[in-house]
Every structure is written in structure tokens, then in C-alpha cells.
């Protein structure tokens, strides 16, 4: 196997990781700060992608499409928080799972109603399409490089927001003692709406960015949601840093596993069955990683909660 292929795959793993981070960051914020399991996070991802596809179709502008995705997902998130989620904070996790699962069904069928059953078209903007030559003779997709850049920028921005801003202080305070910050005169329900909308906007952004290279269709959020849960369990619930490290770990494990495992099995098996066994094991790799991390550190890599 050539070094170029390996480097290209590491970039692919990194890109997959940072897009997962956009999903996982919102999920871990909501879970960490509000103690809420939000299964409908994948639906907000889908809302972002559909909003982007609709706006890109109407205006032809990718920047407007990204803006629309952020706005639509944040609005949908805020609306859902006020109408449904707010009633669930005091309830146990089973009620939250049931209610947010219902939201998935409502979002999916609602989207199908509005946009129909056929996948929508959303493409990479012309400025970012095609491959770019990196030093060392590596041909790599410009758009994927852009995704890595956006993911890192969002990670830095979110890190600054949490550690440096007043909102960040409130979020961290709400995470460790919500009664106390309510007693200090912070409007906790407003804070929760803001956090939920922020998480939703990140999911929507991820949906729009990923939608351009994948298929914009009903139900596109659920597979990503499962991976995002794996990421936050590995990283530690409530930790943005954990979400970033977990996402990159999952991205690299998945991508390199798919590349290396079939080759390893081919050393002592016929090629065709090595491909089957290797790819079956590769699709389990991230779950094996999760199990290993949990055995080593039951609260996840950066988790604080017992």
C-alpha cells in the first residue's frame, strides 16, 4: 500500500471526524447541560440539508443555502424546545426517548409531505468542486478540505464560546448546578432554549455541508445520529473537547479500518471472503473502540459525570 493512499485516507478520516463533530457537539451540549436525550437531533440535521437544498435550488447560492440551513435548523430547534422539550426536563430518560422518537417520525413524514419522496439535488459550489493537488502529489477533493477547515473553525469558535464568553460561563454553570444558577437570577429556561437552538444550528450546518456530497433524503439523519451518540459516549458526555477527540477517533477508526482490515485478512484468506469478513469487522470497529474506551474509562475520555 502506498504512502499517498494512506495519507489520503487519514485526510478522509479527519474529514469524516470533523463533520461528525458538528453533530456530536450539539448533542453533547444538550445532553450535558440539560440532561436530555434528544433522538430528534438527526431530524435537525435533515432539516438543515433540506433547507439548504431548497434555497440553493431557488437562488443558486451556496452561501445563502448554508445560512438558510443554520436559520431553519435553529428555528426548528427553538420551536421544538419551547413546544415539546421544555416539558421533558423533569421527566425520566424513557419519556424523553419516547417523545423525541415521536419527533423523528413527525419530522420525517412532515418533510416528505413538503418535499416529496424523491431525493433532492444539492451540489458542491463550483468554486470548491474538483480535486486539488497537495504537496507530495496527493490529489484531494477541495470540498473535503473545506469541510475539514469549517469543522476546525467551528471547534475553535465553540471552545472560545464555552471558555471565554458570558453565555459559556452560564452553560458551564448550568451543567454543574442548575438550581444554583437559577437562584442567582439567570433565566434558565431562556438559556436552555438558546443552547438547544445552538445545538440544532450546528446539526443543520452539518446537514447542509454533508448534503452537498451525499443524498438529501428523508431519514438521512438517523445513521449519523447513531454515530454521534457513539462519539459523545467515547468523548464523555457534556464535554466539547471530548466530542472533538471522540469524533476524530471515530472518523479515523472507521476509515482506516475499512482500508486496512480487508487487507489484513487477505494475508491468510481468499480475496473474496477476506473482503466480506474484513468489511464486516470494519463496520464493527467503532463499536469495539467504544467498548474498549468504556472499559478503560467508564465516563468516557473527558467525562466528569459519574
Amino acid at each position: 500500500m502506498s504512502l499517498i493512499l494512506l495519507i489520503e485516507q487519514v485526510l478522509n478520516g479527519l474529514q469524516f471526524g470533523v463533520t461528525l463533530f458538528l453533530m456530536a457537539a450539539g448533542l453533547t451540549l444538550v445532553f450535558g447541560v440539560m440532561g436530555l436525550i434528544n433522538l430528534a437531533h438527526g431530524s435537525l440535521f435533515m432539516v438543515g440539508a433540506f433547507a439548504a437544498a431548497a434555497v440553493a435550488g431557488a437562488t443558486g447560492s451556496f452561501v445563502l443555502a448554508l445560512g438558510a440551513a443554520l436559520a431553519a435548523a435553529a428555528a426548528a430547534g427553538a420551536l421544538v424546545e419551547v413546544l415539546v422539550i421544555r416539558r421533558l426536563y423533569a421527566r425520566d430518560h424513557l419519556d424523553q426517548v419516547l417523545a423525541t422518537f415521536a419527533l423523528i417520525l413527525i419530522f420525517s413524514e412532515g418533510t416528505r409531505w413538503v418535499f416529496g419522496s424523491f431525493p433532492l439535488y444539492l451540489n458542491i459550489p463550483a468554486a470548491l468542486s474538483g480535486p486539488i493537488s497537495l504537496p507530495g502529489g496527493i490529489e484531494y477533493s477541495t470540498y473535503r478540505l473545506f469541510l475539514i477547515g469549517v469543522g476546525i473553525a467551528v471547534a475553535i469558535g465553540l471552545g472560545l464560546l464555552i471558555t471565554r464568553s458570558r453565555l459559556g460561563i452560564q452553560i458551564r454553570a448550568g451543567e454543574s448546578d442548575r438550581e444554583m444558577i437559577a437562584a442567582l437570577g439567570i433565566d434558565i429556561s431562556r438559556l436552555y432554549t438558546i443552547v438547544f437552538a445552538l445545538g440544532a444550528a450546528l446539526a443543520g450546518l452539518a446537514g447542509a455541508l454533508v448534503g452537498a456530497i451525499q443524498s438529501v433524503q428523508v431519514g438521512m439523519g438517523e445513521p449519523v445520529l447513531i454515530l454521534a451518540f457513539v462519539v459523545i459516549v467515547i468523548g464523555g458526555i457534556g464535554s466539547i473537547k471530548g466530542a472533538l477527540v471522540g469524533a476524530v477517533l471515530v472518523g479515523l477508526t472507521d476509515t482506516l479500518g475499512k482500508l486496512l482490515l480487508p487487507g489484513m485478512f487477505a494475508l491468510f484468506m481468499p480475496a473474496s471472503s477476506a473482503a466480506t469478513v474484513g468489511s464486516a469487522l470494519a463496520s464493527m470497529a467503532i463499536y469495539i473502540l467504544m467498548a474498549a474506551v468504556l472499559i478503560w474509562r467508564p465516563t468516557g475520555l473527558f467525562g466528569v459525570r459519574a
Binding site: Q9, F16, P119, G130, S141, S215, V218, P223, L259, S279
Partner: protein, 380 residues
């Protein structure tokens, strides 16, 4: 809601009394996928089927339509309900092979006819074949075999092949390799439902292949093609029609232009039935028909042709009437092999752009009068 759907879609024709020509009414139970990610396929099959029924003006047929949500357990429940309380005579509609495997053997064992408008798992074509089971679409391997035959004729000698790691994906690669005579530059099984193919595309780039064969139905194919087109790899791609049907081509866009795919049907097959079908489908539903729609249309016409010459209650006569396949297919020549699977031509198509619409045109024939290899195991 699903009840509501079924009611709305039911053809109001309660002609239970015997009619003048002596043949009894037929009650059809259609179980297909109308919601969720795979709904586009089921909707096309249903619309094609109902178009043929409505055009026939036959008031002697009642169709009950239910949504299986692409879930085997729901399909089984619906089938039980249709057989036991609705007492249907004929069943049809299932899109996915795993759902077909859950429903068809039980339905045919209870004496119902089953006409498959899409799924054609090998288990039902070989040892598990049944006299009351007819497949009007294809055996699952057929289009992949055609892709392999095309690769030979195009002079490809080093293909990179990939498909999802599930039974139909494994059948796809087996089907391709059955006809293809060259070397393999690589063979990769992806995860079912995978949406990112960067890793596979990097492997294709590094493999030194001269062509790529892939079977990635639905959203998987859209993702692959968009990413492939953007990657700068410019090897020729060949695949079965499923990733290039009318429903998803618009979502792939220009990334699919020029891609070669194999299909038993296309809208430019030159016969009167097909021309009328394409025109009336467009007039009725405001979109171009897909191969799924053509399969639904042919299934309904097969059923109507059998109803015209036999009574559904006379099982042997009705079966013989179905087997005769005495209907005008949108595909032109159509016949059933002894295992009740089609003998048909499979074409090579190319994706083109007509105005704003992406569609296909036929550029050659991959296999002529093709049936499947499993028929030899079928004893009935």
C-alpha cells in the same frame, strides 16, 4: 393514516356479482413501500400498476394498497390481514428482497398468487420456486450479469467492483463476475446505508483499475456518484439501472452524465405499448416513469390478461393464463421461463440530459433472451 391512504387509493369497484363474461372478480392486495427513505420505488410501482388498471376500464378488479414502511414485520402483518380478513386472490407490490422472503412463501403456501413487480431473490427462483409465484421484473442477478457482459464487450479487463455487504449486494458482485471475463483490481463490500465513499474512491484511485462496477441502490448511489465525480478519478463507471432510475437521477445531476447502466426497460424502447405508457404516465402524474413504474404497469397488464382468459377461482387455468404472459409488455418481447421468471432482453443505457431533465437512452443490448441460472434448481 395508513388506513386512510389505503381507502383513498382503493379502486371503488365492488363488482362481487359474477359478470357477463363468466369470470369472477379479482381482489388484489398490494403491499409496497410508501413512506420513509425507499418510498419513491413503491410509489412508482403503485402508480404504474394503477395506471394500467384505470386504463383497462375493468371494473371487475379491486385493489387494496397498504404501506409496509420497508419493514419485514409490518409486511408480514399486512399480508396476514389481506389473506385472512380481506380474502384477496392475488398479491403484489413488494419492493425489497428481504420483505419478499418474509411474505411470499407464506402467501403462496396459502394458495394465493403472488406477482412480483420488483424483488427477485435467488431463493425464490431456484429451489424455493412456487407454481403460484411469478416475477414480472427480473431475477436479482440479471442486471448485474448484463453489466458484466457489457464490460466484456467494452474491452474492460481490470474492474474495481463494490456493493453493500448484504445478500443483494453479494448477489450483485456474483452476478457481475458470472459474465465478466477480466481481472479484478479490487473487490470491496461497503456498509449498508453508508453515505461517505471517500475511502473507497481513494482505493479505486490507487488500484490501477480500468473500470468501476458498483451496485449501490437509492441514496447510497447518489452519494457515491456525487463524490466520485468530484474526486477527479475519471475511470468509466458501469452499474445496474437502480442507481440511475428516473427518481434519483435529478438528485445526482450532472455527476451521472455519460454513465453506462443496464436495464430491462427504458422509455425509448420502440413499441406502441411503451410509447403510450410513457405518454400517459407523464400526463397522469406529471413526471417521467422509472423502470419501477414500468414494472408495476406490466404486472397489472399481466394480471388483466390472465383475468380475460381464466377465472381466478380456477387456480390451474389462471396459473396457465399467467404463465402464457399474453400481454403487451412495455419491454416488447416478454415470456416466462419454467421457474416463472422473465426471459427478456437487457439493454445498455447511457445517462443523458434532455433540456433540464436527466434521463437515459439505450445504446445497445447487453444480453438477448436472458433468463437466470437458478431455474435449473426449480422443480415444480
Amino acid at each position: 393514516m395508513f388506513k386512510h391512504l389505503a381507502l383513498a387509493a382503493t379502486v371503488a369497484a365492488f363488482g362481487t356479482a359474477a359478470v357477463a363474461d363468466g369470470h369472477g372478480a379479482v381482489k388484489v392486495g398490494m403491499i409496497t413501500t410508501l413512506s420513509g427513505g425507499g418510498a419513491g420505488l413503491g410509489i412508482d410501482v403503485r402508480d404504474g400498476f394503477m395506471l394500467a388498471i384505470n386504463q383497462s376500464g375493468n371494473t371487475n378488479i379491486e385493489v387494496i394498497i397498504e404501506d409496509d414502511q420497508r419493514k419485514p414485520e409490518i409486511a408480514v402483518q399486512l399480508a396476514d390481514k389481506m389473506i385472512q380478513s380481506e380474502k384477496v386472490d392475488v398479491m403484489t407490490g413488494i419492493i425489497w428482497s428481504n420483505l419478499a422472503m418474509a411474505v411470499v412463501p407464506a402467501a403462496t403456501a396459502q394458495g394465493k398468487f403472488y406477482l412480483s413487480p420488483n424483488a427477485g431473490p435467488s431463493a425464490l427462483a431456484g429451489r424455493g420456486c412456487h407454481p403460484n409465484y411469478f416475477n414480472v421484473a427480473w431475477q436479482n442477478d440479471n442486471l448485474h450479469e448484463a453489466a458484466g457482459a457489457y464490460a466484456n464487450s467494452a474491452g474492460y479487463t481490470n474492474s474495481f467492483i463494490l456493493a453493500p455487504n448484504y445478500p443483494a449486494g453479494q448477489d450483485a458482485l456474483t452476478g457481475y463476475k458470472r459474465q465478466y471475463g477480466g481481472e479484478l483490481a479490487g473487490e470491496v463490500f461497503t456498509k449498508l446505508g453508508q453515505t461517505d465513499y471517500a475511502a473507497e474512491i481513494a482505493q479505486i484511485r490507487a488500484s490501477g483499475a480500468d473500470s468501476v462496477f458498483f451496485f449501490l441502490p437509492g441514496g447510497m448511489g447518489i452519494s457515491f456518484l456525487k463524490q466520485y465525480a468530484d474526486s477527479g478519478v475519471d475511470l468509466p463507471v458501469v452499474g445496474p439501472a437502480f442507481s440511475f432510475d428516473q427518481g434519483i437521477l435529478q438528485a445526482v445531476g450532472a455527476a451521472a452524465l455519460g454513465v453506462v447502466n443496464t436495464s430491462q426497460w427504458n422509455k425509448d424502447i420502440d413499441n406502441a405499448t411503451n410509447a403510450a405508457f410513457v405518454e400517459s404516465f407523464q400526463a397522469e402524474y406529471g413526471r417521467l416513469p422509472s423502470l419501477y413504474a414500468s414494472q408495476g404497469f406490466d404486472t397489472a397488464n399481466l394480471l388483466l390478461s390472465a383475468m380475460a382468459s381464466a377465472d381466478v377461482n380456477d387456480t390451474d387455468a389462471f396459473r396457465a393464463a399467467l404463465k402464457a404472459a399474453d400481454f403487451a409488455s412495455t419491454r416488447g418481447d416478454f415470456a416466462f421461463a419454467d421457474n416463472h421468471h422473465p426471459i427478456q432482453d437487457i439493454y445498455v443505457r447511457e445517462v443523458i440530459q434532455e433540456g433540464d431533465v436527466f434521463t437515459n437512452r439505450i445504446i445497445g443490448t447487453a444480453l438477448t433472451d436472458h433468463s437466470d441460472v437458478y431455474g435449473a434448481d426449480c422443480k415444480m
